[in-house]
Structure formats: C-alpha cells, structure tokens
Symmetry: C2
Subunit: 416 residues, 2 copies
C-alpha cells in the first residue's frame, strides 16, 4: 500500500496578516497538489518575523513531507526569508551566476539599469538547488533536510505558478509514489444546503467508505464534491463515475453545471459548439455579465457586445425603451426588461440576449423593495422575463441576479 504523502504551505508576509491582500497562492498550490494525490495537511501564514517563520518551518516539517513556501523574496528591505532559510539550512550566501545573468538580461531587454538590490536577488544559500524563475528576478530554491523537501518560491502569483507547474509538480511526481485521488463536482441552484442534504440522505448513507461527499454553499447555490481515494486509478475513477451519476440523477432538477464549470463557461461552450452569438443589455448588473463572458480567451467567437444602460436616459436613447412604459410600469418591470432584451438583440443582431434591470441596494427606488430584479432572455422566437426578489446586500443581490439570469439563458439555449 502506498504511503500518504503530506504537504504544508507556508505563506510569508505582513500584508497577509494585516489583511491587506487576499491569499490566492495557497488555493492554487493546494489544487495542484491535490490533483496529483498529495495530501495537504495544513497551511500557515506568518508575518515577516524571524521567530515565527522559523517556528512555521519546524511545525510544518514535523507533520509533512513536502513544505512549500511562498513570499518574502523581493528585493526590498522588508524581506527576511532568504537569510532565514540560509541560516535554517546552515549555508552561506553565494552569487548564483546563472540567476545573475538572467536578472541582467531582464533589465537589458527593458532598457533599465541594474541596481544594487537586483544584484542581491542573484545571491542564494549555497546549500540550495536554484530553480529558475523565467517570469521574474527572484529565483526559487530547493532544500532537503531529514528526507523532507522544502521549496521556496516568490509570492508574485504568476511567477510562483510557473515554478509550481514546470518544476515542483514534476519533481514530486518523480520523487514519490503517489496514491490516487479523484474529485467530481456539480453545482445546484435555488435549493438550500439542508434541503439538499435531506434529499441526499439515502445516497450519502450508501456511499462506499473511500468516497466522501462535501457541500460548498454559496449565494443561492451549493457545489457538491465527491472525492474518491484508492490504489488503482482506473478502478477508483470507475467507482467515482458510477456514484457521481447516481448523485446527479438523484437531484437532476436542481443541477445547473458539472465539473467545476461556472454557468458562464457552460453557456460559452454551448454557444461556441452551436456557432451562435450573444449580446447583453445591463442595467443593475452594470457590465458584469459582459466582463464575465470576455474574461476568457475565445470570447470573440460568440460574444458580440453589450449596452450597459445604467441611467434611464441611456435606456431611452440607446435602447429605445418606451418612456411611457418607464413612467407607467417603472424602470424595474417586466415591460422594461422585455424591451431591453428585444431591442439589444435587434441592435446587435445576435442569436441570444440577456437583459437585467433591478434594485440591488442599499436604497430602494420607485417604492419597490431592495432585491427586486427583472431578467429577460430572448432568442429569435421569443422573449421570456422573470421577476426575482432577493434578500441580501448589494453585492450578493448582484451575484444572485447573475446566477439566476445565466440559468434562464442556459435553459433557453438548451430548448433550441
């Protein structure tokens, strides 16, 4: 039987401890390790304090085989990680010629002079193996001690990510015999965690011991994750697939996406497959739908554009919404949402459109309560509108509007 291989992550930097930045590196590293079957044991964040970093190294080495460290490698005076690692592993600082050349090249190619602090970036403990950082000046460093490996990486996300993918993951795969771990996820919309768990009681009770179900609730949606562990890859995958189909079948009516895909990604795939186009008309979502669809490469294959009509004048002048209807029914109404969808489709000549108008808060308008949202979707045959009444703050009302609106659009596309 293969041994479980454990990893810890140490993130270093005062900015993490005073809450000035959100730690996205840990999630990236954890996801990468998880995919190859390394078990994350724990994750620690410490400030730029010698004793605390030292203790985090000791604590992590006690419970884990692999210790991954990010942050604290910049050229400025607040970074103490490199001298600390040097001292922790009993080395002395030397200039790494290859790194120095790399740093020089970076500065030459951008016509900037090399500063003293940049020279320092090429200094490394002589007891480490240098890991090249093609995207930046601070190199990664690999140490070994008592059979455990320690990798120090820069905190800049894309620099760390390249080092993880191109160096650390292959190294771990080569060094350890790893057990098998697979996940499959799906996302539900419009049903609470406890109702879902009630419906899944029997399913969960019948799960084999090596498969685990987890609930990840978010605004009006719940992501369900099935995790299978085992020895044999094909067998474990097959068992997971079977149980996943059971799960999906049990709650088919509330499942909106599979495999960690978001609703907008699912819609993008459908539209690209079918060679159809999309436009949006956004009042309360304020461009968030357009920004979401254009986030990923290839968006130009299906996304034409959007009219963000935040003010009523723009609704009238650009989208030709009837001023009488706005006066009669209010700007947050079925009539306005329907016209927005139909008119933006006409203006942008797309196969599908989605339109939003609502009151996200904090203040109400037109005597309507905060959280009232009308959403319309349209294709070449019809326009469908629906009213929602969310009960959250501004940000969560927007999130909910986006999710339910995208789900209306998804269903309309699947009807065709």
């Amino acid at each position: 039987m293969k041994n479980k291989i454990y990893a810890s992550i140490i993130t270093i930097g005062d900015e993490l401890l005073i809450g000035q930045v959100i730690d996205t590196n840990s999630a990236f590293i954890a996801a990468q390790l998880n995919k190859i079957g390394v078990w994350m044991r724990h994750r620690v964040a410490v400030g730029d304090q010698w004793d605390d970093i030292w203790e985090a190294l000791d604590d992590s080495a006690r419970v884990s085989d692999i210790i991954l460290i990010t942050g604290g490698l910049g050229p400025t005076a607040d970074d103490i990680t490199k001298p600390l690692l040097n001292s922790y592993f009993g080395g002395k600082m030397v200039v790494d010629e290859q790194t120095l050349q790399h740093v020089k090249n970076i500065f030459q190619s951008t016509n900037r002079p090399l500063l003293e602090s940049n020279y320092k970036q090429a200094e490394v403990p002589d007891v480490c193996k240098v890991i090249p950082n093609k995207n930046g000046t601070a190199p990664g460093m690999l140490f070994e001690k008592n059979g455990k490996i320690f990798v120090s990486m820069p905190g800049v996300p894309h620099e760390m990510q390249a080092i993880m993918q191109e160096y650390v993951i292959p190294l771990i795969r080569e060094k350890y015999e790893l057990p098998v771990i697979f996940h499959k996820t799906l996302t539900t919309l419009g049903i609470g965690e406890s109702f879902l768990s009630e419906r899944l009681k029997d399913f969960e009770a019948a799960l084999p011991g090596n498969i685990k179900l987890a609930y990840l609730p978010n605004v009006r949606s719940v992501r369900l994750r099935l995790t299978a562990t085992g020895e044999d890859a094909a067998e474990t995958q097959c068992l997971l697939d079977t149980q996943f189909e059971n799960l999906r079948h049990t709650i088919e009516d509330v499942v909106v996406t599979l495999d960690d895909k978001t609703l907008d990604q699912t819609i993008a795939e459908l539209l690209k497959q079918r060679k159809k186009t999309l436009s949006t008309a956004e009042s309360c979502t304020g461009g968030a739908l357009a920004a979401m669809f254009t986030e990923n490469a290839g968006a130009s294959q299906f996304f034409s554009g959007s009219v963000v009509c935040y003010s009523n004048d723009i609704k009238k002048q650009v989208l030709h919404i009837s001023p009488e209807d706005i006066a009669t029914y209010g700007v947050v109404s079925k009539e306005v949402a329907t016209q927005m969808a139909a008119n933006v489709r006409e203006l942008m000549q797309t196969d599908y459109t989605i339109a939003t108008t609502g009151i996200l808060g904090p203040d109400g308008i037109e005597g309507k309560r905060v959280g009232t949202v009308w959403i319309a979707v349209a294709n070449n045959k019809k326009v469908m509108a629906e009213e929602f009444s969310f009960q959250y703050n501004r940000q969560r009302n927007k999130e909910a509007a986006i999710k339910f609106g995208l789900n209306m659009l998804r269903k309309l596309i699947l009807e065709d």
Copy 2:
C-alpha cells in the same frame, strides 16, 4: 507599557486544503483586528480532520491570546467542528432555545419546513456562550480557557463578518487594553519595486524605529505601506502623518492614489464632487471598466453607461466607427480608439469617456503583437490617445490596460 495582544485564525474545511475555494475570511478578520491594534501572530488552515483541528487549537493557544475559528459549522455531515469544540472544552451538547427559535423564524419567514438537520444547528456545547447569527442558522460560540478566548464562527463570509463587527471586535476592545497601531498607504504606477526602493533609500534609512515601510507589488503598480506603532494615539498618528507626507513628496511624480483607494474609487469621488458624468466604450476590456464603476453604491450619481463593442460589427453599427479607418489602420489603432471615445461621449452625452481597444492574447491579430493596447480619454475639449505595449498574459494585460487607462482619465479630470 501595554502588552501586545496576539491573535491566531484557524480556518476549517477540506475545500480550503484542496484549493477549491479561496480564503477571503482570513483577510477580513485580519484587517479588523489590525485596525484595533491586535497583533496577528499566525493563521492556519486545516481540513475536516479531528486531530488536525485539535492540534491547530493547541498550537494557536500556545502563541496567542485570542483564537478565531471559522468554518465547519454547516448542517451537513461533513462538519465536525462543533462536536470537536464540545470535547476540547469538556462540555456536553444542549439545545439553545434562543437559537432554535431563530432558526424556526428563518424557515417560517421563507415558508420552508424545518428539517432535522436544522434542529441540530441549535445544539451547542453547554460550556460556551452563544453568539447570535442574525444572517444564518449556525450560531457563533465563545469559549474561555486558561485566560484565552476562542470564538467559533460560521464560514459563510457575510455571516462571519456581521458576528466579527457586532460582537467580537467590541468584546476584544472591552476585554483588553490595546496598543496603538496605524497604517497609511499610497499606490504608485509604472515604476518597478527596486527602482522605487532605490529612490526611497534615504527616506527609509531616516525612519524612526517605530515606523516601518513595506512594499506590495502588483501588475505595474506598487502599494507602499507605512506602519506606526506606539503608546499614545495622537502622538503616533502625528508622527505617521509627517513621515507619510515625506514619503509622498519624495515620489510625487509616480503616486496615483492614496489611502488604499483604487483608481476607480478615486475617479468616482472626483466625479461625484464635481457633479460630472462618465461613459465607457470597451473593446478589449469587455465591460470590466463599467462593472468596476458600478460595483459600489452611488454609481448612478456619475456613471451613465457603456457600449461594449467586442465585435467589429458593433463598433461600426453602434459606435459608427469608420469602416475605412478600421480597414486602413486596423481595429487596434489610434484612429479607432479616438473615434470610440468621441462617439460614445456623443451617444451617451457625458462629460468624460474612456475607450479601450487592444490585443490581450493569447493570439495576436492584424500582425500586431499581443499586449498592444490603444486607450483614449475625452472631455468636452479634447480626445487624448495613448499606445501601450504590455508583455504579460491575457489577464495581466487587461489589468495593466485598466490601470493605465484609469490613470489617463484621472489626470484628464484633474486638468479641468
């Protein structure tokens, strides 16, 4: 002299350790504690594993006075935090009548039946003080042991945030005599960390011992943070203000925002103060500028709308960009950017506009290299366009385009 009060955060949940969610709770808690002068010692994330949670409690209690715990309190079977805390603090589980009533009310108000798992949410260890959770069903819990306080909170961000702000922060303020800690920040654009540090060498060397300078680099910008600690609030604040003015003065030419404000927030403030309006015409930014401006309440005071013209047809049909100019100069050109800005300003009748057209990648078009971006800003007197050549991936090219574009707009507004 006041003692330093130390805190640790423990976040619980397998989803953190497999990288499926990004931990935003820790940053929120850390920022709240920091503001009142509590020193964050470290922060640990562990999975839903009995021994690991137990060890995290022991480790945190060893170094900190206050231990804040989030996550693991949901109604479903994967949550073991509550029974563990019960056992850790040697209590027995009892039903809390007030919580039960609260849970019943929530379900009644939304016309949903109460499930068995919901009853369980009202069960708490008899050795804790229950902290009401007005936004959800899982209550917070306060424990005390050996003079240290432990607070367990739900992992749902807005539920945890309300408990922190309304209960935990006031409790800590009342219980401890806290030292003084203040921060001031500013953000620079277009200068690298090492060049900045070179320019600030003398400033940094002359800083008094209780003031610390930190660098937080991001895509093309660096946030600088001055932190002052002391005994007397007024004195510490005054010392910090003086040094901050020195800092600002030393690098005045590259400072773009102050006080942790983002560029879009700074622009929003300027426009609201001056009662001016804004529209955007977005090709490569795809609605991200509009979404950014409409994120915050009060956006309708200055933001009118946007035309997201992702496809060339929309550029021609909706924004009336000359097809000849697109054919002659290409869609990523000074001519197109300038016309986009001028025409959207005309269409939306706003005081200012910003227009973007560029190639973010991964693929180039028109024989131009990835990262080429033209941005134009306009007011009633002129249109100004500038070309940028970024060298990152798609996402970072967009971030850079947004920052430099917003800075062009900020400067144009300040000229008036």
